[in-house]
Symmetry: C2
Amino acid sequence: MSHNETHLKSSDFISDIVIGMSDGLTVPFALAAGLSSAVQSNGLIITAGIAEIIAGSIAMGLGGYLAGRTALDHYKSELAREYQETIDFPETEKKEVKDIFEEMGLSEATQNMAVEELSKDTNKWVKFMMKYELGLEEPDKNKARKSAFNIGMSYIVGGAIPMLAYVFTSDPQSGFKFSFIVTVVCLLVFGYFKSKLTGQKPIIGALKVMAIGVIAAMSAYFLVRLFNS
Amino acid sequence: MSHNETHLKSSDFISDIVIGMSDGLTVPFALAAGLSSAVQSNGLIITAGIAEIIAGSIAMGLGGYLAGRTALDHYKSELAREYQETIDFPETEKKEVKDIFEEMGLSEATQNMAVEELSKDTNKWVKFMMKYELGLEEPDKNKARKSAFNIGMSYIVGGAIPMLAYVFTSDPQSGFKFSFIVTVVCLLVFGYFKSKLTGQKPIIGALKVMAIGVIAAMSAYFLVRLFNS
């Protein structure tokens, strides 16, 4: 195992936090920017921001949790099916293993030896089919649950950052200015770490995460103004 | 190639539409529900909804597009690196191939034959390392771009559904009631198709998608009321 697996070494916890925060920063920031061009009171922007943060964190957290559960159910049902298929259709299953080795570029003789060796041990055989035919590895149930929770909570923290500027200013225009400065800085910082954790170039990654937030916010600002004029 | 690959047969276009719509239905629906417990005018809810739909569709569409570009860059740089490594460290790379065959459960003799055969052809060798060591397959640039566009546009259409109820009613309470009924029906329908397309049980999948939307909306409704009381 060599180079680009750096991201596996970094803690899942840190990775979830950074992903949740950089996503949480974007939509509430842009929503508030859009509203700041249309309403006269910071109270309304804060109320909408709270509603969005609740909605987004539940959609992301609960959605992630249920997706994890679904992946585990799917893995279990496919596993049972593969075991059954080695009993019901052993020749078809052997042919599928052989096809995978052929696709890798091995010779006919080596393909046959490999198939022979794998099919002697049903556990190895099924594990091979799960991983290399179906591309499935056993999902970790607890990890999915923790990950969903951490991403959801970080979305709340990330979403609170652009909203705080509206709490500490007295009108939407100043709120928007402060929110913009603070959020752009945070998007750059979180984009930088997010890219490092996922093995991308950190400075380019930081600029991309920042650009998505700024484009979303500016679009919301000008389009809401257009709709309301 | 057998059973659970049904989802690959369904058109990517339909799949993107259904995913974008069922996600688009959730957050704008819950945002509007939250606001309906706090504001007196449908105009404000619609303005916030427009801002959210712009923000969410750009974050999802542009975010997806840039993630696709990043994946392609990452693939290309890893590919160049693997080619270089077969020149600079051929023995290390052979050992990595051998380890993968060992992990599959093949005998020492078959591992050696397989390594010998693969390393004779640099293209096959590198392709093997990309796929089986790094788990990378060449991303389709055009597909990622189209997919991001389709998901972003469907998010807009999905988001418009819960908002229309506020356009056609005169106060937030009636808006919320109609929005709730229409959106729950749509979440069930899109959740059903989403689950079918991703190879899950469609009825359970429909109920999960609906539950996420309803829990997000009810949480936003009651928590916003709590914050404002």
